[in-house]
Symmetry: C2
């Protein structure tokens, strides 16, 4: 499903260049459940942005579902992204002027679903993350953990092939984290490919494979050791 071939990302140039990713290669099959770990600033979110077609590599190629992503035009890329991908951002990125329900309904507009159907599916996704009683609140009226859960509901509502979640439990207490991890495990069992970035060993331990970043490189890539 995913093939990164010697992908690198450099910001700026000359003396000011920041090599966020050195050439990195990675193959992930459909249906896998991977954790990406590594220190702050090691390139995890940068790698996720490339995987999620939200950013292009400086060098190297990215094949998603057999298609070379780099060479796609912007609108084709947007369509691939909307149909195939679900993304939970490290900082949520909810639209402040929309309610929780409206935020979660948004990805389905591209799928040409009628409004009643979008509303039902969005409601179910929000109930699944324990926010059935906060549908009509806007993000500023929600706690940090509640906003994170809205972002998770939004990422899964379109039943994407590939779910990319950057620190999905960062703002959650252990009990809420566990119910979110249960959702990811269920989705993975139903066939969804799931890639999580996490600082939480407890979370990484529940994935099948652990990919470790350091200074913009992958320094380890192993089946998760079950303790």
């Amino acid at each position: 499903l995913i093939e990164l071939d010697r992908v690198s990302k450099t910001y700026g140039s000359g003396e000011l260049a920041v090599h966020a990713l050195h050439p990195v290669s990675l193959t992930i099959e459909a249906g896998e459940y991977c954790a990406i770990v590594g220190p702050s600033g090691s390139g995890k979110s940068t790698a996720m942005a490339i995987l999620g077609c939200l950013d292009r590599p400086t060098e190297g190629t990215y094949h998603l579902n057999g298609n070379p992503v780099n060479s796609l035009a912007a609108d084709t890329l947007a369509e691939v992204r909307n149909r195939t991908l679900g993304f939970v951002f490290q900082q949520f990125h909810l639209l402040p002027q929309l309610t929780a329900l409206e935020n979660v309904m948004l990805p389905m507009v591209y799928a040409n679903l009628p409004k009643t159907k979008r509303r039902v599916r969005a409601t179910r996704a929000l109930q699944r993350v324990g926010l059935g009683n906060r549908l009509h609140n806007r993000p500023s009226q929600l706690s940090g953990g509640q906003q994170q859960r809205v972002a998770i509901a939004r990422a899964i509502v379109n039943r994407p092939k590939l779910l990319l979640a950057d620190e999905p439990t960062g703002a959650l207490d252990s009990q809420t984290s566990q119910s979110v991890m249960q959702i990811f495990a269920d989705l993975n069992r139903e066939g969804m490919t799931v890639i999580l970035v996490t600082h939480d060993q407890e979370v990484a331990g529940q994935c099948d494979r652990t990919i470790t970043f350091r200074d913009g490189q992958i320094i380890a890539d192993n089946p998760t050791r079950t303790p």
Copy 2:
């Protein structure tokens, strides 16, 4: 230093009312090192906003340093806040158009320090959190954990009497978390009152006192058990 007397916070009214905090009472002496824990949505950030003079309670009184905060005029309140408090927000709230250095220099403008002095102090604070080489980057050019560390540097640069940090290690790997916790321990040893909200047991375990929230109430308030 801190006295919350039957403080409550209600959003909305009538049927739509959300009781974010039920009457809560709390006394914290100068020099204490407290962890506030509890599930997502239990009222922790709401309590922190009141403690940080960023929000007023619906009922009850808040005395800070012997002064009743509720009855202060907005500009007096702003002055108290700038002189006494350092705040690390759950979602950082850095100014996107300013560099890391400029963001950290900002609180000192109110302290009437000359610009050269502000620059030196801000540089030291950023070096202390390991960002000495990112001074001139703007938040969008920084990783999640780097942005969180800029927010921490900004909160301590004015040497406040009271430091309030809402999930200060949420976006940090364990090694970076530890160096941040070392900073808080050093500041507390120098006399700063430190109150952290955290979901991380590892972090809570390093504070002297643990205050547990649930459904807008304090359900436990004990010295931290050392394991």
